[in-house]
Structures are given as structure tokens and as C-alpha cells.
């Protein structure tokens, strides 16, 4: 029995995936645990293992590499040695069709596929269209055979016909333009309709086009690129956050001199792993979150979810776009464990090798723009999380350390920007959280002892 290999569902929100690469080839022998292919989904590349053994057979009609495939759709089969894959056995329709076309070889009691063929033929004649759309098309004289339907199953519905009719009406409106002007406009890449809007009523002349072209300058048509999967997801999530969350940003300036000293000491000690500032901030935030669980909460319908695990996402800029790998239970890990884990996930994120589960389940996010000389900013909350901490650069500043003694000092200062969702938490607890983060940055011993 052939075993189907389908596009797997790799996360709750996954509906489709991109078939990135076949690791095994058509005809290869496969053992359970072998990597068969690679899927790109929800920002991550995931290697898919075989559960069964057999010979891999990929149909010529299978989805090509690089195509987007719905979960559950068949990609290939595993068959026994010598077994023909299901796509090799001709389908009933094809048999009938062959029999039909070679009349001389037709046996006397040939099957009569007439009724079925008629049904098929009717389907094959053109796209599906609702009766109402067909009626409106007749009324508005629209040729619906060339229209793409917007119904759930691709059916042409009334609004498609009306849109096509409007488009046709707009396109058919004669623009009053001289032949020379039309040619010049075409050469300059200017839409005559745009000229008409600029010079309504009058006949558009060459001078009008040249005037418009001069204003246009070298303003050529923009280059169009399809949005990558990551860009699309980022777009959707940002829109969702902007529409749903009620963000408030608090900023505070903290003295990171001790934090810097801590890092220098660890570096000077010659340890194998030196924690980055992000690692230090991750531990600081994890420690503060254990004391302010409201900042580690989210809202679901009419309920507040207080997450017991503190899973901190780290915003990472990669060639493929923004990714947020998650360090799980950061409060239970030592600083060096956090450093080792984050180095691993960040590297895998940058290499496009990160697994989907490494990107899921975050309860708080840290984003650091310090390396670009940014101080304060207003990060967007990564829903359904409650808050995100923006980390600014560390920069030496002259500050007042003792007002009475009128003493100044040069300290390593850093700005922190906490954006929180006011639906989940109020300003005071959020401010207390940020204040605690400030204390932990300024006095790292407080959390290092735990």
C-alpha cells in the first residue's frame, strides 16, 4: 500500500507551507527518521522526517519546489519496492477517453461515458459563475469568461461582474488627447488618464505632456516585488497589533555602568561564552517579570491569562526579515545558559534554519536598536504578549551623581522604552516593572544571586 506524504501542519496557525527543497529524490529508498524534504512556514525552515520506510515516488504532477502547498495536500508517496505508485495507474476517465479516441480498438461493450463527459465538459467550459452574476453580466454586457471570480471557491459572483463593468467603462472613456501628445506621454511613461485628471475638459497637447513629464522628473514606475512570506506575516501581525492593542510607551534612562563592568569582567575572565547585552537584558527582564506577572500576561476574550512560564522573545534582524526566536523559561536559566541558547537560536535565525517552534510561545519581547545609535523608540507589541522592551544604546554621559555636593560624573547611560498594552495592565504596575528593570541594570548583583 502506498503511503501518502503530505504537507504537514507545523503550527497552530499554519494553513500552507512552501515546499522548499526535496532532500530525497524520486526513487530513493527512505527509512523512518530520514529527512525527506524541507518546508518553509511561519518564517522558519523545517526539515521533515519520514515516519515510514519505502521507496519515495514523486508524481510528475506533484507541487513543484518553491510552490505554496496547503496542509494535507499530497506531495509524494512511499511505496514498496516494485509497487507502482498510485499516479502510475491510469484514471478511469483517461481509460475511457483513450478508448473513445481509438475507435478501431473499441471493444463492442465499451463503457458509455457520455453522461459523465457531459458533466465534465460543462465544468470545463469556463469558470463557475453564480446565476445572479450571469444575469448581471447579461444586463451589463460583460464577457465573464475572462473574469477571475472572488467567491470563496473562485466562483464569479455579482460584485466581480460589476467591478469588471466599471473597469471597462473607465477604460472605454475616450481621453481627449492629440496623437502626438499620446505618443510623447507613452514614451515618458505617463498614463493619459493621469493627464486627463490634471487638465480636465481641455484637449491634452504635447506641451501639457512635456510639462507633466518635467514635473515627474525621472519618476519612473516603482519596481514591484512580491512580498516575501515573512513580510506578509510581519505586515499582518503589525496591523493586528495596531488595531487591537492599546499601546503606551514609558521611557527611562538607566545607568548601565555596572552592567558594562559585569560584561567586561566576564570577558576578561576568558570564559568560553561571553554574554551579550541582550543576554544580560534577558536575565534582567526575566527576573523583573517574576515579580510583576501582569507584564507576562495576555488577554483572551474576557479572561486574563497569567503565564507561568517566562518565555522571552529576542527580535533579530535577518536577511529574510525580522524574526523573534524565543528563549524559554529564561528565569530558570543561568546567565551562561541564556547566552549559549540565544547564540544558537540567533545564529539559526540568521541562517534561515530556525524551527517553527523556536518562534512560538513567547510571553514578552526584547528589541535592541542600540547598535544603530538609537536611544528611545516605540516598539510594536508582539500580540498576544502584553509588553515589549526597547533597549537603546549605551553611551557615556555626564550626569549629576550627588546634587548636594554638586558632584558630576561620567557614567554609561542607556535608555529603555517599555511599550505595554493598556488593555492588559495599567500604567502604575508597568512603571513599577520598568523601575525594577532599571534597578536590576544598575545593580546586577540583585538578580545574579538568584
Amino acid at each position: 500500500m502506498a503511503i501518502e506524504i503530505v504537507m504537514p501542519k507545523l503550527g497552530w496557525t499554519m494553513e500552507e507551507g512552501i515546499l522548499d527543497e526535496w532532500i530525497k529524490r524520486d526513487g530513493d529508498e527512505v527509512q523512518p527518521g530520514d529527512i525527506i524534504f524541507v518546508v518553509e512556514s511561519d518564517k522558519a525552515l523545517q526539515e521533515i522526517e519520514a515516519f515510514d520506510s519505502g521507496i519515495l515516488r514523486i508524481s510528475p504532477d506533484a507541487p513543484p519546489v518553491g510552490s505554496t502547498v496547503k496542509i494535507g495536500e499530497t506531495l509524494a508517496y512511499l511505496v514498496e519496492p516494485g509497487e507502482a505508485p498510485p499516479f502510475d495507474s491510469p484514471k478511469a476517465d483517461e481509460v475511457q477517453l483513450t478508448a473513445h479516441s481509438s475507435a478501431s480498438a473499441l471493444p463492442a461493450a465499451a463503457p458509455k461515458p457520455l453522461a459523465r463527459q457531459r458533466v465534465k465538459g460543462r465544468r470545463g467550459r469556463g469558470p463557475a459563475i453564480s446565476p445572479r452574476a450571469r444575469r448581471v453580466a447579461r444586463e451589463l454586457d460583460v464577457n465573464w469568461a475572462i473574469i477571475t471570480g472572488s467567491g470563496a471557491s473562485g466562483r464569479i459572483i455579482e460584485r466581480d461582474i460589476r467591478a469588471a463593468a466599471e473597469l471597462a467603462a473607465a477604460a472605454h472613456t475616450e481621453i481627449n488627447i492629440s496623437p502626438v501628445a499620446r505618443r510623447v506621454a507613452q514614451e515618458a511613461g505617463i498614463d493619459p488618464a493621469e493627464l486627463e485628471a490634471r487638465f480636465p475638459g481641455a484637449r491634452i497637447t504635447r506641451a501639457d505632456v512635456e510639462k507633466a513629464a518635467a514635473e515627474h522628473g525621472t519618476d519612473a514606475a516603482p519596481e514591484r516585488q512580491p512580498l516575501s512570506r515573512i513580510r506578509q506575516l510581519t505586515r499582518d501581525r503589525m496591523i493586528q497589533s495596531a488595531r487591537t492593542a492599546v499601546p503606551v510607551t514609558l521611557t527611562t534612562e538607566v545607568d548601565a555602568t555596572e552592567l558594562q563592568q559585569l560584561r567586561r569582567s566576564l570577558s576578561a575572565d576568558g570564559g568560553e561564552i561571553v554574554p551579550s547585552y541582550n543576554d544580560l537584558m534577558l536575565k534582567v527582564v526575566a527576573a523583573a517579570l517574576t515579580e510583576q506577572p501582569m507584564l507576562n500576561a495576555s488577554i483572551e476574550a474576557d479572561e486574563l491569562l497569567l503565564h507561568s512560564a517566562i518565555n522571552i522573545g529576542l527580535a533579530v534582524d535577518t536577511e529574510r526579515g525580522l524574526l523573534v526566536p524565543v528563549i524559554r523559561e529564561a528565569d530558570r536559566l543561568s546567565l551562561l545558559e541564556v547566552a549559549a541558547l540565544s547564540a544558537d537560536v540567533v545564529e539559526r535565525a540568521r541562517a534561515g534554519k530556525i524551527a517553527a517552534e523556536d518562534l512560538q510561545g513567547g510571553t514578552f519581547t526584547i528589541t535592541n536598536l542600540g547598535m544603530y545609535d538609537i536611544d528611545a523608540f516605540t516598539p510594536i507589541i508582539n500580540l498576544p504578549q502584553c509588553a515589549i522592551l526597547g533597549v537603546g544604546r549605551i553611551v557615556p554621559r555626564q550626569i549629576v551623581v550627588d546634587a548636594e555636593a554638586q558632584r558630576l560624573a561620567i557614567r554609561q547611560m542607556m535608555t529603555l522604552s517599555l511599550t505595554f498594552d493598556h488593555r492588559v495592565v495599567d500604567g502604575a504596575p508597568a512603571a513599577r516593572f520598568l523601575q525594577r528593570v532599571k534597578q536590576y541594570v544598575e545593580t546586577p548583583y540583585l538578580w545574579l544571586v538568584n
Binding site: 453564480s130 446565476p131 445572479r132 452574476a133 450571469r134 444575469r135 467567491g151 470563496a152 471557491s153 466562483r155 459572483i157 455579482e158
Partner: protein, 325 residues
């Protein structure tokens, strides 16, 4: 306007007609002194006594046959079945005599009989007390079938039932009985065969039967927040069925869902769907959708019971799917 319950409104219609028409009498189990299992006759026994509110033994076929004879000879019987499920024991009289006698006598004999009872699923009443059965009666020529969804309709339709010449099934969904609604004190009656557009909209039409009418209205209020503008029609009577109102609405919206708590196969949704296909095909912008309870005997377990009837979430999904088609 004053607000009274569905049961009070229907009882008021019965009391008013009993006062003006001495030929009306009620038979049934527990409808005398007890005032009816669902309070349908509460207080009437004290007023009109045992001759006009006659308790019966548990012999549906017997007392339905008796009432058929009474109706043929000039009385106006009201048979109160309590749960309409019990009507099934009198099918021979109903289908062979009551529905046919006017035709068989060339209209010389009238059949002014009202057959009333509670329909629908709710309250863990189990499968012998949860039926609706109206498609059976809509299928047979000769019956009128009313399924009021609110107190105003209950009173107005029962008034018409008690003044007409035809056998009428007056079916009261048990979950509607205690719902309150405005009912004028002035005399009125609602003609059969006139659907009510209970909510106007342009994105889709939902025909909602009996208990589904208030449920669908609630869902449509929620959907309105997402700018989904749904038209809702309560047919009020299923025989005669006001197809003109439904067709006019579909002409406007192009989309139709029939929401009916009882079974789908050969049901009212199938009938409406077929008629729209026959008379309004070119108005349809999407396949007609039906939402029905599960095709199964009604379980007693409350959790299983609620699982087989379309809840608000199911209604919302059905409407959203229809609009997205």
C-alpha cells in the same frame, strides 16, 4: 405598550374567542382544573367549566376522532396535545379525515379544528417530548401550520386559527413560552401566509423558523458590528408559506440561509430552497445554505442535547460562510 409572555398572549387569544364563540371547547390531558401542562388554559376552567375544558384519558386517536366529528357538526374544538409528539398517535384521523373532509364534501363540511402543542428541543425533555414534525403537516394538503416566534404573533395567529374553517396546527416552541414581548390590548388578528421581515439588511437573507428567529436576530446584532447587514425573515406560517417575501428579499441580497432547528432532510429549508431555485434562480449569487439540528433522535443528556441544535456560534459561522461564498 404592555409586555406579556408568549403563553399569556396565546391564552388571551383563546379566552377572548371562547367568550365570543360558545362553540369553542378544549380537550386534552390536564387542561381542565390543572390549567394545562404549559399553562395554556390556566384560569379558563373556573370561567367555562368542564363542558368546555374537558380533560381526557391518554387516547389521542380517540379524542382527535371525537373532535373531528364535533368540528364537522358545527363546533370548534381545540385539541391541546401538551407535547406535540403525542399527535403522532392520531395520524390516521388527521391525515385521512381531518385534512381531507372539506375536499371530499366539496366544501359542504367545514373542519375548524385547532391542533396545538409544544414543539422543539430544550430542557432535557428527551426524544418523545422534543419533536417538531411540522414538515409532515406542511407536506399534506389541507392543513394550515403556524409557528409563531413571539407573543404578538402567537396571539394574532391563534385568533386567525380560531376563526377560520381549516384544520390548523398551532405549534409553540417550548423555549419561547416565557419570552415577553409587546402585545397591544386592542383587538387584532394576523393573516396566515404573511411572513415578517424582522430585520432589514442587504448582504444576505436568513429565513429563521420559530425559536431560530430570536437566536438569529441576536447573532445579526453582533454581525452588524462587523458591518454585516443581514435581512431576517420569519415566515410565521409554514402552510401557507409566503414565498413572495422570501423571493423579494433574495432578489435584493442574492444569498439565502434557512435556519431551522428541526431535521434537514425533506424539511422546510429543502422546500424553500427548491422554490427559490425554481422562481429566483437568476437572483442567486451563492448556493443556498441550510442550518438544521442534527438528524437524530433527541438525546436526554443536556450536554448532548445542546450539541445537536444550532447554537449562536453555529448560526454566526453559517452566515459568515454564506456571505463569503
Amino acid at each position: 405598550m404592555r409586555e406579556i409572555t408568549y403563553t399569556e398572549a396565546a391564552r388571551e387569544a383563546l379566552a377572548e374567542q371562547m367568550a365570543v364563540d360558545p362553540s369553542i371547547f378544549v380537550v386534552g390531558e390536564g387542561i381542565g382544573e390543572r390549567g394545562g401542562n404549559f399553562n395554556t388554559t390556566l384560569g379558563l376552567y373556573e370561567k367555562y367549566g368542564p363542558m368546555r375544558l374537558r380533560d381526557t384519558p391518554i387516547v389521542e386517536r380517540g379524542f382527535v376522532g371525537l373532535c373531528a366529528g364535533a368540528a364537522m357538526t358545527g363546533s370548534r374544538p381545540v385539541v391541546d396535545f401538551m407535547f406535540i409528539d403525542f399527535i403522532l398517535d392520531s395520524m390516521g384521523e388527521l391525515l385521512n379525515q381531518i385534512s381531507k373532509i372539506q375536499y371530499m364534501s366539496s366544501g359542504r363540511i367545514k373542519m375548524p379544528i385547532v391542533l396545538r402543542g409544544c414543539i422543539g428541543i430544550g430542557g432535557a425533555a428527551a426524544t418523545h417530548h422534543s419533536g417538531s414534525y411540522y414538515p409532515l403537516f406542511v407536506h399534506i394538503p389541507g392543513f394550515r401550520v403556524a409557528t409563531p416566534s413571539n407573543p404578538y404573533d402567537a396571539k394574532g395567529l391563534l385568533k386567525t386559527a380560531l376563526t377560520g374553517d381549516d384544520p390548523v396546527l398551532f405549534l409553540e416552541h417550548k423555549l419561547l413560552l416565557n419570552r415577553r414581548g409587546p402585545v397591544p390590548e386592542a383587538e387584532y388578528a394576523l393573516p396566515f401566509g404573511q411572513a415578517a421581515v424582522i430585520r432589514e439588511g442587504s448582504d444576505a437573507t436568513v429565513v429563521a423558523l420559530a425559536v431560530m428567529a430570536p437566536k438569529v436576530l441576536d447573532v445579526c446584532d453582533e454581525l452588524a458590528k462587523d458591518r454585516l447587514d443581514i435581512e431576517v425573515i420569519d415566515p410565521r406560517t409554514l402552510a401557507p408559506l409566503d414565498m413572495a417575501t422570501i423571493l423579494e428579499s433574495v432578489g435584493k441580497t442574492g444569498r439565502l440561509l434557512i435556519a431551522d432547528e428541526t431535521f434537514g432532510p425533506c424539511g422546510i429549508g429543502a422546500e424553500i430552497s427548491a422554490q427559490v431555485m425554481e422562481q429566483g434562480f437568476d437572483d442567486l449569487d451563492a448556493p443556498i445554505a441550510r442550518l438544521n439540528g442534527v438528524h437524530t433522535p433527541t438525546p436526554y443528556s443536556p450536554s448532548l442535547e445542546s450539541a445537536i441544535i444550532p447554537d449562536n456560534a453555529a448560526i454566526e459561522k453559517a452566515i459568515r460562510d454564506l456571505v463569503a461564498e
